[in-house]
Amino acid sequence: MNAMNIDRRSFVILSALAAASAVAGRRADAATPAQSIAATGGPDGIAWDKAPCRFCGTGCHVRVGVKDGKVVAIQGDPLADVNKGLLCVKGYHVGLALYGKDRLTRPLLRKNGRLEPISWDEAIEVIAQRVMAAPEKFAIYGSGQWTIPEGYVANKLMKGGLSNNHIDPNARLCMASAVTGFLSTFGVDEPAGCYEDLDKCDVLILWGNNMAEMHPVLFSRVIDRRSQGEKVTLIDIGTRRTRTTEYSDHYLEFKPQSDLAIMNGIAHLLIKNGTYDARFVERFCNFRQAPKDPGSTPTAPLNGDAMTFEAYKVALAPYTPEHVEKISGVPAAKIRLLGELFGRRDLRITSVWCMGFNQHSRGTNANRLCHGIHLLSGHFGKPGDAPTSLTGQPSACGTAREVGTLCHFLPGGRVVANPEHRRESEKFWNLPEGRINPKMGHHTVLMFEKFCTPTAKGGDIGTLWVQVTNPGQSLPNLHKLFKAKKGLEDKFLIVSDVYHTASTELADLVLPSAMWVEKNGMFGNSERRTQQWFKMVNPPGDARDDCWQTIAVARKLFERGHPGLKDKDGKFLFTIKNDAGQEVPAWDWKHYYDVNVDKALFEEYRAFSRDKHKDLAPYDEYVKSRGLRWPVVQQANGSWRETKFRFSEFDDPYVRKGAEIQFYHSVTKDDKAQIWFAPYEKAAEEPDAEYPFWLCTGRVLEHWHTGTMTMRIPQLHGAMPHAYVEMHAEDAGERGIANGETIAVKTRRGELKLPVWINGRARVPRGSLFIPFFDPRLLVNDITLGDIDPISKEPDYKKCAATVFKVRTAEAFRASSVEKSL
C-alpha cells in the first residue's frame, strides 16, 4: 500500500509538471528543458565525488554530481577548508562548461585553408614529423590550467627529451612578476602564509585587486566575518571604483603606475616616525637594490646588490606624503593613514594583490615593495600578518611554478642555468649527463614574436603546440604577437583545446581534449595547496587527455629513433608501470586508463619537491584530503602534516628551533629576507595629447579569462552577455556619448568598437577607460601594449594610452539594423 501510495503521489506531481511545462517552458532556461524534470525525477542515482573547481586560483572544492554518465549538479564542498561549502556563480555552473554544443570531438588538420577531420594516428604522426624535422624549432606553450601531470610530461619531453627549453606557460602573462618578487625577497617562490590570514587579519589591504569579482569566495571569507560581529578594516587601493570598493572602509584612488610611490611613501613614514619594527629588521632582514651592472650575471637583475640601511633611508627620503600625493593623486592624509597602520604592532595586516601588481611594467618591483613594507614593519609571519599574492588560474602555482614549466625552470624550483640543478634533474630522470640544455628558452612574448616572424628574418620557432590555453585572445598586442602568423607558410600551429577559440582560427592542427572531470587531474592553488581528483565522466567523441597526447607524441618520436626520448638505459622516457611492476603502454589510448598515469607521474615528480622544501606527499594522501599545503612532512607516526605558515617556527618544521623566523632559502645565505628599494618610474606608455586616456583591461565576475567556457554557459552569458568600455560620465558627456552607445577605442596598436557603460558595475575616474577581455568578438588585446617587465618578462595589460571617438551614427545604425533583419 505504501509503495502504491508513493507511486500515485509521484505520478500526480509528474503529471502536473508535464502539464505546466508547456506554459512555463518559454521562461525556462535553455539548459533546463522542462521535459527533463519529468524524465528523471528526484536526486536518486546521483553519484557525488570531489574535485577542485576548474576556474580560478582560489582552489575551491566542489562536489560533482554525476548521473547516467553526465555531470548534472555541483555543490560547494562543506568539508573543503578553502571554501567551506560556498562557491561563486562561476563555480556553481562549472559543470556546464563541459556541455557547450560545439565541443571538439575529432582531430582537425588544415587542408587548403579548411580544418578537416583526420584520425588521431595521423595527427600524432604529423606532429612527430614536424618535431623530427627541426626539434630545436619546436616550442610548447602551456598553461596554469594544465594539471600537474600534464605540465610535468610536457616539461620532461622538452627539457629532458628534446634538450629544448622553448616551453613556457600562460602563467607568464599573469604570475611571473609574483614569482620574481618572491624569489628576490625570500629566495624561494610562493606565499609564506595561507588563506587563514584572511580569517585573522584586522586590516586587509587590496592592492589594485577587485577581490569581490575575481576571488569572490575569498572575499566573502573576509567580509562574512562582519556578519559574525568581527571588525575587519578593508582598504581598497585601486584605479577604479568596483564592487570591492562598496565593502571597503577606505578607498584610495591612485594614478596608474603610482602604486610604486605609495609603497615607498609608507616605508618613508615608517622610517621617519621610527615605527618600523627595528627588532624584526635587525634579526631577519637585509636591504637590496637594483644591481649596478645588470649584465654581470644572469641572476643579477633578479638578486640585485646589497644596500645598507643608511642608503635605504636616503633613497626613501624624497617620498614624503606630499610628494607621493603629487605623483599618485592620493591625499597625503591617506598616505599617513597607511603609514600609521603599518606602524602599529597591535594590528594584523594582510595585503593581497593579483594582476594589478603583476601585469605591470615594473611588476617585480611592485611585488618587492609590498613584501618590503610588510617586512620593515614586522607584519609578517604571524597569522593575519602577511603579504599574499593571489593567482588567477587553478594551477598557476602547482603546474607553472612548482613543476617549473617556465622556459628557465626545472621542476621543484630549479633553474636550467644552474649546473647542479641540471645534474640533479638528469639524475631524477635517469638521463645521460649533459642532456639538459643550460640556455634559457624563449619566454612567452618572445616565443610568439619568433613564431610570428618569418624564418628567414630570424623567426626561430617553426612549430608551436598550444595546450589548455587561448593565446589568440589573451596575448597582448595580438596583431603583432599572434595574428601576424597568418600567411607564414612554414609555420605550424597546433592547438589542443575543448572548443574552437580565437587560437584555433589560425591553427593548422586542432586536437580535441578531455577537460576537468573527464580526466584524472591535480591542481595546485594560491596557498600552496595541492589537490587531486578522479575522472568521473567520459569526454565527448574522440576527445582525449592532454597528458596522453604528449605521451603519444613522445612515443612516436621514440619509435622514429629520436635519441632524446631514451633514458640512460635506452628505455622510453615515459615508462609507466602498474602496481604489479609491469609496463603499461600508456601511449596507446586503449590502455591509457589501465593504470592511473597521474599517480605514476606524480610519484616520479614528487622526488623533485624536496630541494626547496616544497615537499609533496604521496598521491594517495591527496586522494583522501581536500588538498594539502606544502611542505607536507611525514610525522613520526607515519601520518602526513601540511604547513600553513612557512618560515615561522610555530608551524614550519624546517625552521630551526629557537629561530622564530627563518628564511632558509635566503638569497644572501644568512636566513634573512631582502627588503628592496625600487624607485617610482613612469609607465611604458602614458596618456598624451593624442591619446589622452589610460586604458586598463581585466576580468568580470561571470566570465573566466577568455570566456571560452563561461560564454557557453547560459546563466553566465545571460548575466554578462558582452564586453563594454567603462568611461567617466563627464568624459562621455563632453564628447556627446550616451550610455550603451557603440564607440571606437583607439591605441597605437589598433582600434576596437564596443558599447560604453557609464556608472555601471564599476566606475573609472576621469581620463580612464576599462575593457574586460573575456569577449572573443571584442578583442581588447588587439589594442593593448605588450611591453614587458624587464625582470619577469610579464606584459603590462593595465596601462596604455588610448583615445575614443564616436562611430558615425549612420554606420552604427546600419550595423544594428542589419543584425535585426537577420
Binding site: A47, G65, V66
Partner: protein, 274 residues
C-alpha cells in the same frame, strides 16, 4: 451651400475625438490594472493591511469615518487605492501562525517547476529575475533581508543570512540592462546541452502519516521558512506554520547532505575506472 459639409466634418471630428478620448482614458486605467509581474505565482498573495483601524472601519458596515487628511492615503479610491507610499509599512507582519495552508500535489509540482525555471540544476543559486544594482549588494537585502510580498510579487527571505556578497552567486538573468546599440552582442555564442539535476519530489515517510524527511541538502538553507514559510512559493508552503522547530520532526538525509565523507575508495565512484 457648403455649410452642412463642415458640420458633418465637425460632427465626425467630435465623434472621433470622443472615441479617442474614451479609448485613451479607459486604456490608461486598464493599463494601470495590468501590473504585469515577472514572478507568476501559483496563487496571488493578497496584501494584509497592517492598519487595524482600517479593518475596524470596514467592519462597521463601511460607514466612512472622518480622519485627518494626513492619514487618508489608505482611503483613496481607485485601483491603487490600497497602495501605500510608506516603505516601512510594506514589510508585512507574518500572517497569523495558525493559518492553515493546504497544498495540492499539482500546486507543489507547479511550484517546483516555477523554481526550476530560474536554476541551471537543482541546488544551483537562482538567477535574479529583475534588474539589479550592478555595483553593490546593499539593495538586495532591502527586500530579501526579511522577505517581502507586494501584490503578486514575492521577494523571498534570504536563507543564508551569514553571507553578505549577494551578487557573488546570484546574477541577473536579464544581462547588464545596458542599452547597447549592438543587439547582435546579446545573442548566445553557442548553445549548451547541459541537463541539470531535477528537484526532489518528496522526502521518505516511514509510514503514511509519519513526518517526511527533508528531500534536499540543507547547506545554505538554514531558514526553512524562506521557501516553506508564508512568503515561499504557494505550492511549497508548510501546512503548519505554527510549528517553528522544523528539524524536531523532519530529519535530514545524510546521503544528501554530503557532510560525512570517509576516505574509503567507495567515496570515489569514478576511481573504479582508474
Amino acid at each position: 451651400m457648403s455649410a452642412p459639409e463642415p458640420n458633418s466634418y465637425q460632427k465626425g471630428a467630435w465623434l472621433f475625438g470622443a472615441i479617442l478620448f474614451t479609448a485613451s482614458v479607459s486604456g490608461y486605467f486598464m493599463g494601470l490594472r495590468q501590473t504585469g509581474s515577472q514572478i507568476s505565482m501559483t496563487r496571488p498573495v493578497s496584501l494584509v493591511t497592517p492598519d487595524s483601524e482600517r479593518q475596524a472601519i470596514l467592519e462597521t458596515n463601511f460607514v466612512p469615518v472622518a480622519v485627518p487628511y494626513a492619514r487618508q492615503d489608505w482611503l483613496r479610491n481607485g485601483v491603487n487605492g490600497q497602495w501605500q507610499s510608506r516603505v516601512a509599512t510594506l514589510v508585512q507582519p507574518t500572517p497569523h501562525p495558525v493559518t492553515q495552508t493546504n497544498v495540492t500535489e499539482e500546486q507543489r509540482g507547479q511550484a517546483l517547476l516555477e523554481r526550476s525555471t530560474r536554476r541551471a540544476f537543482d541546488g544551483a543559486p537562482p538567477r535574479v529575475p529583475h534588474p539589479i544594482a550592478q555595483d553593490s549588494s546593499a539593495a538586495c537585502l532591502a527586500c530579501h533581508g526579511l522577505g517581502l510580498a507586494v501584490k503578486d510579487k514575492i521577494a523571498s527571505k534570504i536563507s543564508h543570512a551569514q553571507y553578505s556578497s549577494c551578487t557573488q552567486c546570484h546574477v541577473p538573468s536579464g544581462g547588464t540592462e545596458l542599452p547597447t546599440s549592438e543587439p547582435s552582442l546579446l545573442a548566445p555564442i553557442v548553445a549548451n546541452a547541459f541537463v541539470g539535476a531535477t528537484p526532489p519530489l518528496q522526502g521518505s515517510r516511514a509510514w503514511p502519516l509519519a513526518p517526511p524527511t527533508i528531500p534536499h541538502p540543507t547547506l545554505m538553507r538554514s531558514d526553512c521558512l524562506s521557501c516553506h514559510g508564508p512568503r515561499g512559493l504557494f505550492g511549497l508552503r508548510t501546512p503548519h506554520p505554527d510549528r517553528q522547530s522544523c528539524l524536531q520532526c523532519h530529519a535530514s538525509d545524510a546521503g544528501l547532505e554530503q557532510q560525512i565523507f570517509s576516505s574509503a575508495a567507495s567515496e570515489h565512484p569514478a576511481s573504479a575506472r582508474r
